[in-house]
């Protein structure tokens, strides 16, 4: 496995790291609020993921460009301002594209401002690295976040309303599992995903040990 992983610091690694190895939701357990709140259907999850990815990319880029200009003492406040500006842009953008979608996501678009993934990447990565690497890192983390949201949204929509992206999958005799669409369903689904990933990791580690022993 280690032969295919690009070395740390390369552009490909900046991009790919966020997708799986340091996935913001499944591995770092950041940004829980939007993850749980808008993942009741695959479409909502996808929109939210892409909106967050957009803000993450552009704010990482801008913060990285400004990193020598902003004094250390006021950096967090300035980061938040940059992020809030991009979120306002996204908010109006989604409103212009689809009012129904905007209504479904509600306040959670504005709440991208306080998504800890974005401020976390700004502080941990963009404030210390060049614009290109920061942009790639933002893109990777954003796509990783989208992937995680889709995993949750897909499962919840499939079980909760028997469809995927609004298209029926199981036919009419399927009894929808309504609890999956309710808040508690979000907690259960994420808990189950974390369990599954922990189990998978353990199995792989055990497999690697067996190979070494042979």
């Amino acid at each position: 496995m280690s032969a295919t992983v690009p070395g740390p610091g390369s552009p490909a690694d900046d991009l790919l790291r966020g997708l799986w190895r340091e996935n913001p939701v499944f591995v770092q357990v950041l940004g829980m609020c939007p993850t749980l709140a808008v993942s009741n259907s695959a479409l909502n999850a996808l929109t939210m993921g892409l909106a967050t990815a957009f803000v993450l990319c552009l704010s990482s880029l801008l913060i990285s460009l400004l990193r020598h200009v902003v004094p250390r003492e006021v950096r967090i406040a300035s980061f938040i301002l940059v992020i809030a500006t991009f979120v306002t842009v996204v908010d109006y953008l989604i409103q212009a594209i689809s009012l129904a979608l905007h209504a479904a996501l509600g306040a959670f678009i504005s709440l991208i401002v306080v998504n800890c993934i974005i401020l976390g990447r700004a502080e941990a990565f963009a404030a210390r690295n060049g614009p290109l690497r920061s942009f790639l890192d933002g893109l990777g983390m954003g796509l990783g976040f989208t992937l995680a949201l889709l995993c949750l949204g897909g499962v919840r929509e499939l079980l909760g309303s028997g469809s995927l992206f609004g298209i029926g999958v199981f036919g009419s005799q399927f009894e929808p599992w309504t609890v999956m669409l309710l808040p508690s369903g979000g907690f259960f689904t994420l808990g189950a995903w974390l369990l599954a990933i922990a189990w998978w990791r353990r199995r792989r580690e055990a497999g690697a040990r067996v190979q070494e022993a042979n």
């Binding site: 357990v29 829980m32 938040i80 504005s110 306080v114």
Partner: protein
């Protein structure tokens, strides 16, 4: 909506639409600071206080921005005010209660990125509450947040003694408990009419 009685606003924000268990707001401190009942209740009190202050400020800002027709600045100005309010609370707590300041530690400045507070400012604006209604709403939301945090901390203190499979320890089991708590809170839905 603005004709709602104060009691129903308080109960609605505290129990029926509990910020943590029904709206998924403030999950990070909910999972992070819910290890001990004592810390959880202090954290709840600090958050409630910041909620009251920022609710008051958000009400004033919304009125001012609406007057000059610059509502697109709303989000940016809300977050700046919340950051300032948290800073203020930090200074006051450090001056008057150094013990509490040490107990809260890093979680005090992190209240800035607690989405429950920004959400409160946004919700009260979109619902068009008056000044008194805003304050009661903030108080209810803060009480609901504290309640959820303390309940979770109580369960987790007991959980320390339980035997769990290795895989399930940590975040996964906390999420399942939160799910069950959230199911229980759905029982309050009948209160609202």
């Amino acid at each position: 909506m603005p004709e709602q009685s104060l009691a129903s606003i308080f109960l609605g924000a505290c129990l029926i639409n509990n910020f943590v268990l029904a709206y998924f707001l403030g999950i990070c401190p909910f999972l992070g600071v819910s290890g001990k009942i004592a810390t959880a209740s202090r954290m709840g009190a600090a958050v409630t206080f910041v909620m009251l202050v920022s609710s008051l400020c958000a009400y004033a800002i919304h009125a001012a921005l609406a007057a000059i027709g610059a509502l697109y600045l709303q989000l940016v100005s809300f977050i700046v005010v919340i950051a300032a309010a948290v800073q203020l609370v930090e200074m006051v707590v450090r001056k008057y209660s150094p013990a509490l300041f040490r107990a809260l530690g890093i979680f005090l400045p992190l209240i800035t990125t607690n989405c429950a507070i920004l959400a409160l400012a946004l919700f009260q604006t979109s619902k068009g509450y008056g000044l008194l209604q805003c304050l009661v709403y903030a108080l209810g939301a803060g009480a609901g947040f504290t309640l959820a945090l303390v309940l979770m901390a109580g369960i987790r203190e007991k959980l320390e003694l339980a035997e769990l499979p290795d895989l399930a320890t940590g975040t996964a089991i906390s999420l399942f408990i939160a799910g069950i708590l959230s199911l229980a809170f759905m029982g309050f839905a009948g209160l609202g009419a």
